[in-house]
């Protein structure tokens, strides 16, 4: 048992590093995922994750697989799309989901194109699916700094953030922090997606943000519990995903996301807050 569950992390530095990277992404990104979900912005998260790709690709074009250049490129592109898509929705008659889908498709195509012109398929795979088993000290430091910053900012602005989701009219009637907290929130989401993209790749980073939050929502009706549970699910998914990928030689990013996806599916069926089993029971109880 010990050998199965812990030995890989004791024996291999790369497994410990991968675990640390996933833990950092989990504790930083999942609380934000909870807020994204509660604001019905899950798709926005997805669009932003893809938007980061061309930014990171330009960084790659300038200086190869460099952590700094790709991070800065991703941050700029992510923030640009976060602000632009809000602007397009407000200024045009296009519905938000359509405008987001447009942004996300353009970004993805552009990013893949830019990387393909210069790099190999290996580079492309690195950007799309991350390299959680080859995180160096600089990347790990970046991930931990982003996670720490996210936790502190969330702790500080928790109350306005919650009210901004639940009753933004009220928040705006009592405080000027509404716009500020929204901007901080978007910035944190972009930062975490950029961090997550180093570990899990652009396609998977948003998965560790949204899936645990969606799964947790089937178990609790308190936001504090939701955040704690989502983070716990993300940690568990990271840990078991890593082990699965180690023992069965599976690609790590998809393994982690699939475990999180399994948590989600189990929650959909068995969750005590509106899960399928519970709903059928209530319905049949009413019919009787």
């Amino acid at each position: 048992m010990w050998e199965l569950l812990f030995q890989p992390f004791v024996d291999f530095g790369f497994m410990r590093r991968a675990l640390l990277g996933c833990v950092a992404v989990s504790v930083g990104a999942t609380p934000l995922g909870v807020f994204l979900m509660l604001r019905r912005m899950s798709l926005t998260g997805d669009a932003m994750a893809h938007a980061i790709l061309p930014g990171a690709a330009v960084g790659y074009l300038v200086s190869g697989l460099s952590l700094g250049a790709m991070t800065i490129g991703g941050l700029i592109a992510g923030m640009a799309v976060a602000l632009l898509s809000g602007y397009v929705t407000r200024m045009t008659s296009l519905r938000e989901d359509a405008s987001l889908a447009a942004f996300y498709l353009i970004s993805l195509a552009l990013g893949v194109l830019i990387i393909s012109t210069r790099g190999s398929n290996v580079d492309l795979m690195h950007v799309l699916f991350g390299s959680v088993l080859a995180l160096d000290n600089a990347a790990l430091t970046l991930l931990c700094v982003i996670a720490s910053l996210s936790l502190f900012m969330l702790a500080l602005f928790f109350r306005p953030l919650v009210l901004e989701c639940a009753d933004s009219q009220f928040l705006r009637s009592v405080s000027r922090l509404s716009a500020v907290s929204h901007f901080i929130f978007l910035t944190l989401v972009v930062m975490n997606l950029v961090g997550g993209f180093h570990a899990l790749g652009t396609l998977m980073a948003v998965g560790i943000m949204i899936l645990p939050a969606a799964a947790a929502s089937f178990w609790t009706t308190r936001i504090s519990g939701l955040i704690a549970l989502a983070a716990a699910i993300a940690l568990l998914a990271s840990y078991s995903g890593l082990l699965l990928s180690y023992h069965y030689s599976l690609p790590t990013g998809p393994a982690i996301i699939l475990v999180a996806g399994a948590f989600y599916l189990v929650s959909v069926v068995f969750g005590i807050q509106g899960g399928i089993v519970q709903q059928t029971r209530t319905v049949s109880a009413v019919e009787i």
Binding site: F12, F14, R16, R17, L19, L20, S148, L151, R222
Partner: protein, 44 residues
């Protein structure tokens, strides 16, 4: 007694200081993991 029951002490009711204290514990744990993962031998 109320404070011990989880459901009545939502994070939203706590002061920013207390919320940051909770965040600090998590951050400290994260960095402890960081030093364990990066400093012990085992190689890439």
């Amino acid at each position: 007694m109320n404070r011990l029951r989880g459901d009545s002490v939502g994070l939203i009711m706590l002061s920013a200081g207390r919320r940051i204290a909770i965040a600090s514990i998590l951050v400290a744990a994260l960095w402890a993991l960081f030093f364990w993962a990066t400093s012990t031998p085992g190689g890439l």
